[in-house]
């Protein structure tokens, strides 16, 4: 898999700590929703640092959109989040990953469950589903700390406005908007029962977020009767105390 030189064509802040990077990648071979790319930075002395980032966009010619959450102690994400400007070049390779993907020939219902910036590959699935005109019902439960932590709200709400479009539910863990119908709190069995497809529909579930979130949600889904083979997970970040 070879490195390609991408040009930054646009940048957009999504939240105080996340921003989208729109790349033009000549000869991009296309990707499946849910896949990621490696991004390589090179210092003047030849030192390199590589990290993986999920693709946020559906296939669209040579265009690739990444959304990067800045980690306070990160080496690559602070550069991508603060230093990078339009016109800069980035080296990327990919697409990578063959399991946490959705393909337009899938016909079963789709259940997406995101924790924080784990929404990025799930947005790619929702966008690909819409672009393909796929008729399978699709639903997203998106858990975030507080309203200002929501990223890609405009795109998600646009997808939710379409006929037979995405069914979108936000869940807030720390503070909710005024008048919200559920007090802030972590995702639990009751919320999943209210806001996700029932097991009888045999959806494929895609769960992405921090490790502790994904562990909890995947356990709850299996406990509710979902076939573990239909629960695909992608985890990032520290272990959150799991031992």
């Amino acid at each position: 898999m070879s490195w390609r030189v991408a040009t930054v064509v646009a940048l957009r802040d999504q939240s105080p700590t996340a921003r989208s990077i729109y790349l033009d990648v000549p000869g991009w071979p296309g990707h499946a929703a849910g896949q990621h790319v490696d991004v390589r930075l090179t210092a003047p002395d030849g030192y390199t640092a590589v990290r993986s980032y999920s693709i946020a966009s559906a296939v669209d010619g040579d265009g690739v959109e990444l959304t990067v959450e800045q980690l306070a102690d990160g080496e690559v994400s602070p550069y991508l989040g603060s230093e990078l400007v339009v016109g800069d070049l980035l080296e990327i390779r990919g697409p990578i990953g063959g399991w946490f993907v959705w393909r337009p020939d899938q016909r079963e219902p789709i259940q997406l469950i995101a924790g924080g910036s784990g929404v990025v590959p799930l947005l790619a699935i929702a966008r690909s589903h819409s672009a393909a005109g796929n008729q399978s019902p699709i639903r997203l439960l998106y858990s975030v700390r507080e309203p200002t932590s929501v990223i890609h709200s405009a795109e998600l709400e646009e997808l939710a406005r379409r006929d037979d479009g995405l069914i979108l539910t936000y869940a807030f863990t720390r503070s909710a908007p005024p008048g919200w119908n559920r007090p802030p709190g972590r995702v639990d069995a009751a919320l999943l029962a209210d806001s996700t497809w029932p097991t009888e529909l045999s959806p494929t579930c895609y769960v992405c977020g921090p490790t502790g979130f994904v562990e909890t949600v995947a356990d709850l889904l299996v406990g509710a009767g979902h076939d573990p083979a239909r629960v695909r997970t992608e985890r990032f970040g520290p272990t959150g105390g799991i031992r």
Binding site: M1, W3, V5, R40, L41, T42, A43, P44, G46, Y47, T48, A49, V50, R51, S52, E75, Y79, E83, D88, L89, L90, E91, I96, G97, G98, W99, F100, T211, E215, A218, D219, L221, V222, P228, A229, V231, R232, T233, R235, F236, G237, P238, T239, I242, R243
Partner: protein
């Protein structure tokens, strides 16, 4: 060398000779799995080696933990680029488990509870290179990290160290496992940076 990234200097770094190319150090122990964490009750746990002629060697939890164990301190290298040095495990050497196994097979397919698989040459399991580990850092191995027991093959990228291991099938043919069928390297040597197909 690639193109220079304007304004990027990277962290001040000292070269750690224990760190393979393209890896960074972490003190944390990240969890990466493709699906839910299986919960395997010890009274149902079983580990089976199946030879190319179909002969089976089985252990239950009691007979497995009655085998001689080894204390292992090794470095872990994950293909997602983190490395964790000096991790302490207790487990049973594959040399012990293979002591009575009659086989001339070249390849092993490792199977886990939950359906995960990974493949590697039999040579990479023997001669003190691999263990079935069931304790980490002095405690029982947590389910999220592969408990009750996981394979530990620290000289290859960590996806080869199958969590929730339940058996090894020996064969004359090399059959790609879960990640090996999904774009990752068939062998996975971190010192040669064999992350993806064709590297």
């Amino acid at each position: 060398m690639g193109i220079i990234s304007r304004g990027f200097s990277g962290r001040r770094r000292e070269h750690d000779p224990n760190l393979p190319p393209g890896q960074y150090l972490t003190d944390d122990f990240p969890v990466l799995s493709a699906g839910p964490t299986p919960r395997v009750p010890l009274d149902e746990w079983q580990f089976t080696i199946t030879t190319e002629s179909g002969q089976q060697h089985d252990w239950n939890w009691a007979s497995f933990t009655a085998l001689p164990t080894e204390q292992i301190t090794v470095d872990l290298h994950c293909v997602t680029r983190w490395s964790k040095l000096g991790t302490a495990w207790e487990g049973v050497s594959l040399d012990t488990l293979f002591a009575d196994v009659e086989s001339a097979a070249d390849y092993a397919l490792v199977r886990s509870y939950g359906g995960y698989t990974t493949n590697l040459p039999v040579d990479d399991l023997l001669d003190g290179k691999a263990w079935v580990a069931f304790r980490y850092d002095g405690d029982d191995l947590a389910p999220a990290h592969g408990g009750p027991a996981r394979l530990l093959v620290p000289h290859l990228y960590l996806w080869k160290s199958a969590k929730w291991v339940r058996g090894i099938e020996l064969s004359d043919d090399d059959e790609p496992g879960f990640w090996e069928s999904a774009g990752y390297h068939n062998y996975g040597d971190p010192w040669r940076e064999q992350r993806y197909w064709g590297e």
